[in-house]
Symmetry: C2
Subunit: 136 residues, 2 copies
DNA sequence: TTTGACCTTGACGCCCAGGTCAACCTTTAG
DNA sequence: CTAAAGGTTGACCTGGGCGTCAAGGTCAAA
């Protein structure tokens, strides 16, 4: 799979793909003529990268996430490079972001329905009870 | 409440506050000597702004959100300036973002627990069943 | 063999969310 | 009166995530 094809398949530009590589997020093979060669898993990988970048994470952040999101065939569990506690912290960061966005969402919905109750107003900053199901 | 106090209270810098104002996100009063004067609701408002900006939304996006998140005392329901369908679309955008982040989170947790099942691997891009409770 | 589509590596440019510095005014404390 | 702390505008700078040429190599089709 060449770069243009990957670009179309993953919905990002060729430029972005080269940038991701430069940032150490992708390491494609090279064909004999120097063309970048990607395998099928790159599509999902690139989508994940774009997803995280467009949600306020930096390329450096993403470097920390990726090894644990990769293909899924090998190296899962505590075998994924970054230390377990590092990933755990990232999960916590994600939970925070999700909670915050959920709070915003709920307030918008309340605004729409016009059913905002006094208790729930102006409380976005102190996250209203949001609990993610903790996988145990 | 002067700008420095608001900065400390809301956890952003003075510079950021002036930038927000320049972007039309804040309209503080001015004291006789030209100092910016904010009321108490500004704290929550600023936190909301920062929250959205740090989650991949632009200042322009935020301009669209704010009137419906404001103080909460008046102008809720379909009385909030942006058209109802505009806000509805923003809610949808939020739902997408939340779903995507949740998917990433779940995959990270799976990587941690080492219990990733084949069906759930490589599926981040096609959002695994995530359903926000739709307020009805 | 020439055209066109695709690829390569630079390198410069842009936008956005601020950081930083300069020059200056205002108010309170000593 | 003077210093310190906080405010003002204006201007330029920065870092991240690309957009956009420029100049050229490769390859299949006509």
């Amino acid at each position: 799979m060449l770069i243009g094809e990957l670009a179309r398949a993953s919905g990002v530009t060729v430029r972005a793909l080269r940038y991701y590589e430069q940032q150490g997020l992708l390491q494609p093979e090279r064909t004999s003529n120097g063309y970048r060669q990607y395998d099928g898993r790159a599509v999902t990988k690139v989508r994940n990268i774009q997803l995280l970048l467009s949600n306020g994470f930096t390329a450096q952040d993403v470097r920390g996430f990726l090894p644990c999101l990769d293909d899924g065939e090998v190296s899962l569990g505590p075998a994924c490079p970054p230390s377990v506690e590092a990933v755990t912290r990232k999960v916590e960061v994600l939970d925070e972001r999700i909670a915050e966005l959920s709070a915003v969402r709920d307030r918008l919905v309340q605004a729409l329905t016009g059913s905002a109750t006094p208790q729930q107003l102006g409380t976005i900053a102190r996250h209203p009870a949001y609990t993610r199901p903790v996988r145990k």
